[in-house]
């Protein structure tokens, strides 16, 4: 479910384009609200939330108004309710089954990271071409040969494919994923994937993130000179 089909009368958005800046901020709201719940906070004003999150109260109200608001004048936000609604908007109210393609360092690290599972992101299989890895398991998740990927996708309802293979292999595997109807790719491979417009891709280019950091470090060092 997302904002458009919640059907509970609270989410009133119909086919409205939400900006990618808002989408980027949603998981952060989710995180802060989860922390507040853990601290036993039951309700919070946009002012209090803005101090904690270091954004303006008006931005919080604007962001949440994209999905119908959730706040009540003079009361603020009910933390548990807002957390639950943002969970729904983020697609966390149902299981998102995944496959990981590439059983290298990062593929294994992702498979071992139990927190994803706690949020409904359940890895069903890992694929690799290395004969030493095929047939083994990572945290109980079977490692299959990449040749079996298409067959596996046809037989299982998989929502998200995670690509943690070298870029040379990623183009071919992406074709298989798209042909098998995968609509979401979490891409750690160091290239821009060429996919049809109905396939969503979220890139995690770690070396580019590290380069941004070293750019800003060099820039800051030069300012001081």
């Amino acid at each position: 479910m997302s904002a458009q089909d919640a059907g509970n009368g609270v989410l009133t958005v119909e086919n409205k384009e939400i900006s990618s800046a808002v989408i980027k901020r949603l998981p952060r709201y989710h995180r802060y609200l989860g922390d507040l719940m853990a601290q036993g906070v039951e309700r919070i004003s946009s002012q209090e939330l803005s101090v904690r999150m270091n954004v303006t109260a008006s931005q919080i109200r604007q962001d949440l108004n994209n999905f119908g608001g959730f706040g009540q004048q003079g009361y603020g936000y009910n933390v548990a309710y807002l957390y639950q609604e943002i969970s729904k908007i983020l697609g966390l109210d149902h299981e998102n089954s995944m496959v990981i393609i590439g059983c290298g360092n990062f593929g294994q690290a992702l498979a071992n990271y139990q927190n994803f599972e706690n949020r409904g992101f359940v890895t069903k299989a890992i694929f690799d071409v290395n004969p030493e890895k095929v047939g083994t398991q990572v945290r109980g998740i079977p490692v299959l040969h990449t040749d079996e990927l298409a067959d596996f996708l046809h037989k299982n309802d998989i929502k998200i494919a995670v690509l943690t293979i070298p870029k040379e292999a990623a183009v071919e595997v992406t074709k298989v994923l798209v042909d098998c109807g995968i609509k979401a790719i979490w891409n750690f491979a160091h290239l821009d994937l060429d996919v049809p417009s109905d396939v969503v891709v979220e890139n995690v280019h770690l070396s580019e993130s590290l380069m941004q950091l070293s750019y800003r470090l060099a820039e800051a060092a030069n300012k001081k000179k």
Copy 2:
């Protein structure tokens, strides 16, 4: 070296604020130019580059003009030269020594990833509190106890600290890093770090990236209904 102190007369920017959108795009230019070099391409026009990168030629020219331009009318860009200059701007022309704090799945994956080293990001030590890990090595890199972190930072010239520990432990470790003069933190811990303004932080919040993907997947599924 960055744009401000290149001293070769090509980079003319002095204390000009470069927007974060431009900074985000720089590593992508670097990647495409590296690929072009690998393919033996010696020069390229902004038009040809724009087709490959799926951005407008005018954006490429604008982005690069922030740093002095690099192109010649009627010739285009010299690929190797532009690659080298962007490398300098990104701080890749010198070693950026790192420590990784947290020898869990991601800490180990990052330590094992040799490509960072090829770009000058050399991990000198990994820190953990787990007695089973302290004293071991990952790809030859020693795993030390987190109690030794401050002493290690005082004795070694470390530029970047990589945080791959649970958020509960991250606040305390960040204090140690800042006290020891670390000016750049690559943060995989799931919280927003509170650091002085002269410390740069680059966040990699993997679960937030995955939530953005599931949001867009749910949104796309709803559009089709």
